[in-house]
């Protein structure tokens, strides 16, 4: 990771970013008191005044009596609407709205970031097919969600992701060299060669290393957001920070989704949950995943401010995320849920052939008709700041850059083998030291059985 932070339209050092945030004249969001009305509402539950139209049952203090026995049928309610800013031709829909708060430079940077993810995806998917990589997951069709939402974050914000958020890493300044080092598990990999490909992680801007276990990051994000809130209360000089937490609609069926959103609401955590609803969890279509109105309808049930956006519209995603960030930092901190709708154009992963469970024509249709990259490209062309030539040049240079880093990462040595044992605990235990000694004995006694040439230092890599 370079010390430079990639911000839309310009490059600034981490230090400069921190300083400018410190000087911000805005009052600290957590200085405001705990939402008083809420506290009052829930702190007492005296039973009933004579003649009252409601009982203050402690579990629901704002419920009126009714003599009409009516079950609430979710199908009677209209679906939660999907917020969009531009149509699939890249034209702003609401002519009366205020201007986009996005500069041309920013939009161009986002476009380039989406393009980079998409080009890298194609090359790495192919590399896996050639057996040069053990595994890969593309984010085709979802580049707009990750790039657009990450663009609304500050570098001090903390991110917990699932695995199909390569665009978040790209937008936050993760370099091609970092991607490739992780994918090839070489000595430059932040994860020290321990994780499967696509399990990226970055120290700053803090984007926690991805784990394969679905939804576990959701309650963690709530806890992390609560920690940021406490730290801001304890040290008013801390810049206001939120946590952004990404997951798919399939992961939202896990118990950890329920736990994470509920605890975020009850503890008033400044966290924005971003659900990528792409229609499929591997082979399972959403009809077999849930029967409610998507994921957004659940946010309301947890008492969380919620919005559904068009995930193929990067402006809609960006604007919603920006507003969500502000909302999350208001009233002493609160969680927000964004459900970003999209379509998983690609296979689930390199281990999946999605034509086994969905029609090729459906996929081709989505590819052709609507796509976040093409939509932004149309907008850029409408603005007269992009054209066919620039497109060709950009694609060519990105492709070259990816291939160069690909080659270097593939040739680089693997980490020293002591890293297999380190970082289990903060210090290598006496038991592990004995096992390292035993491994060395085996490696030295049967050298033909183990090829250590690709590891830094070979068998000496066991020395610390």
């Amino acid at each position: 990771m370079t010390p430079l932070i990639y911000l839309p339209g310009r490059v600034r050092s981490a230090h400069a970013v921190r300083c400018s945030l410190l000087k911000s004249p805005l009052q600290h969001p957590f200085r405001s008191s705990y939402p008083l009305s809420l506290h009052k509402r829930w702190s007492t539950s005296l039973s009933q005044r004579p003649g009252s139209d409601r009982v203050r049952f402690p579990g629901a203090v704002n419920s009126k009596f009714t003599t009409e026995m009516a079950f609430i049928n979710p199908m009677d309610k209209p679906g939660i609407p999907t917020y969009r800013v531009m149509d699939s031709d890249g034209v702003l829909i609401d002519k009366s709205r205020s201007e986009l708060s996005v500069s041309n430079e920013e939009a161009l940077a986002w476009y380039r970031n989406m393009l980079t993810v998409s080009i890298m995806d194609v090359i790495m998917f192919e590399a896996q097919r050639q057996g040069r990589l053990s595994f890969y997951m593309v984010s085709a069709g979802e580049e707009g969600i990750s790039v657009g939402s990450a663009a609304a974050l500050t570098p001090d914000d903390v991110v917990f992701a699932q695995y199909r958020e390569t665009g978040v890493f790209q937008q936050r300044g993760f370099a091609l060299k970092n991607f490739m080092s992780q994918l090839f598990a070489n000595a430059n990999d932040n994860g020290r060669g321990r994780n499967m490909p696509v399990h990226y992680g970055c120290e700053y801007p803090k984007t926690h290393t991805i784990s394969s276990t679905l939804a576990t990051q959701i309650p963690q994000a709530s806890g992390a957001a609560y920690a940021l809130k406490l730290q801001a209360l304890q040290n008013p000089d801390t810049p206001p920070r939120i946590v952004a937490c990404y997951f798919g609609e399939g992961a939202a069926s896990e118990g950890d989704f329920h736990a994470g959103l509920n605890i975020a609401a009850t503890r008033s955590c400044p966290v924005v949950f971003i659900c990528r609803n792409n229609g499929y969890a591997i082979s399972t279509p959403t009809l077999e995943q849930y029967r409610g109105d998507g994921i957004a309808s659940r946010g309301v049930g947890y008492g969380i401010d919620t919005i559904r956006v068009d995930g193929n519209d990067i402006f809609a995603v960006y604007e919603a995320m920006k507003a969500a960030r502000t909302l999350a930092l208001s009233q002493g901190g609160k969680p927000v849920l964004i459900e970003a709708m999209s379509y998983r154009v690609s296979h689930h992963s390199t281990s999946d052939d999605s034509f086994a469970y969905r029609a090729r024509v459906e996929v081709e249709d989505w590819k052709r008709r609507d796509n976040p990259i093409i939509r932004l490209r149309k907008w850029l062309e409408n603005e007269g700041i992009w054209n066919e030539d620039m497109e060709r040049q950009a694609r060519e240079s990105i492709r070259k850059e990816v291939l160069r880093e690909f080659g270097e990462a593939e040739r680089a040595k693997k980490p020293a083998i002591r890293f297999a044992f380190e970082d289990v605990y903060d210090e290598v235990t006496e038991e592990a030291r004995e096992q390292m000694k035993e491994l060395r004995r085996i490696l030295e006694e049967y050298p033909e059985e183990y090829d250590l040439r690709s590891f830094e230092g070979g068998v000496k890599g066991l020395d610390s």
């Binding site: 994860g191 609560y226 920690a227 406490l230 950890d256 329920h258 509920n262 289990v424 038991e431």
Partner: protein
């Protein structure tokens, strides 16, 4: 009644003593533990200073286990504003009174109730630890930790390893949980799942035996350990075990077992509440059989102090492991296997495991299922006679 020793085993031991002719215990073995007289507790401040290596100026107060935990938490919350305390029903003082008055003293931002969700509590705690806090999360009973098993095993334990060079970790995390039998806890208020956690690299598993141990080990877990700690509190001791506890901040190292009582003929390795049963069984065995028994408290179940145990068994040549949780794949299996490897040439008898039978803790059968003084006494006798 008394088995006749096999001739080939008469080496040394029986040359010196005649256990085989020792009478059956004249007093009953399975009496309730008298915590007021057990040698395991510091009934006066004088013995405390020696065993904990405290400075001579230290003052102490008589406390039971829950007040000692409460005192440790109070000390921790005062010492660092990174310490947070939460779980189900923590705010009003906790169902076992361990967090009494702490919310009043330290505010509802740092001491609070969570919704009733174990996976949520631990996930939340991991996230807070990952951002540099020192969360002390409470699981109301160890029996209810299983919904959080994924978060503990796949997330907390592996956090530092997978983050690698980014330096991210959940090392500030401590998970407290009451464990063990209480006489009537049945299936879901009796369990001791320490062996399950001890199988997970990346976790430290700690079980104290007494109030003074609990305070020192808990403070070490919060402030000295840079790894996630599973801290299990034998709940039967919350009110029963009373002893002098130093008033000031002190810690007990997490990587050291303690030889509670020296001996020469057999080593007993245990931890938590069964140590009191061991102590009673040892008293009877030493009186009736003339044996000299060494008693070791593991204190930290994993990563554990293998050297102290091996040194002891290499001296005594005989070993018994005692724990409440069931015998199969329990902590005793690991300890026995380690002894077999590290003290093979010195062993004069098979390593015995006295532990819960391989069943569930059915309500009315508890006394028959869990190890008691009689079974430990019998194991000592049979080990010596082997």
């Amino acid at each position: 009644m008394v088995p006749i020793p096999r001739a080939c085993r008469l080496v040394g031991l029986y040359g010196r003593r005649s256990y085989s002719t020792a009478p059956s215990p004249s007093t009953r073995l399975n009496l309730p533990i008298d915590y007021k007289s057990t040698p395991l507790l510091h009934h006066t401040p004088s013995s405390l200073a020696n065993s904990l290596n405290l400075p001579p100026s230290s003052t102490s107060k008589s406390m039971n286990l829950y007040t000692a935990i409460n005192a440790a938490l109070r000390t921790a919350l005062s010492k660092s504003d990174k310490v947070m305390l939460f779980g189900e029903d923590v705010a009003f003082g906790g169902v076992f009174r361990c967090s009494m008055d702490l919310q009043t003293e330290f505010g509802s931002e740092r001491v609070f109730n969570t919704p009733l969700t174990e996976q949520g509590i631990i996930g939340f705690a991991i996230g807070a630890a990952a951002e540099g806090m020192k969360p002390v999360a409470e699981i109301q009973f160890a029996d209810y930790v299983f919904p959080a098993f994924d978060q503990i095993v796949n997330e907390a334990a592996k956090f530092r390893y997978r983050e690698g060079a980014t330096g991210g970790n959940a090392g500030g995390l401590v998970i407290r949980m009451p464990c063990g039998a209480v006489g009537h806890g049945a299936l879901y208020h009796s369990q001791s799942p320490e062996a399950l956690f001890a199988h997970i690299p990346g976790l430290q598993v700690v079980i104290p035996r007494s109030p003074s141990q609990a305070k020192g080990l808990l403070l070490a877990s919060i402030f000295e350990s840079k790894n996630p700690v599973v801290f299990m509190e034998p709940k039967v001791l919350y009110r029963a075990a009373v002893e002098h506890v130093p008033s000031e901040y002190y810690t007990i190292p997490l990587n050291k077992a303690e030889v509670i009582k020296p001996g020469n003929d057999v080593t007993i390795i245990s931890y938590g509440q069964p140590l009191y049963l061991c102590s009673a069984a040892i008293a009877a065995a030493e009186k009736n059989l003339g044996a000299s028994v060494e008693l070791i408290d593991l204190r930290t179940i994993y990563p554990w102090d293998r050297q102290t145990v091996l040194d002891s068994v290499n001296k005594t040549g005989r070993a018994i492991v005692v724990h409440e949780s069931m015998v199969n794949f329990g902590v005793g299996a690991e300890v026995a296997a380690t002894i077999q490897t590290g003290a093979f040439l010195r062993l004069e008898a098979p390593v015995q495991r006295v532990a819960g039978w391989s069943t569930h803790t059915g309500l009315t059968y508890e006394k028959l299922i869990l190890p008691d003084v009689t079974r430990i006494y019998d194991a000592i006798k049979r080990t010596l006679e082997y």
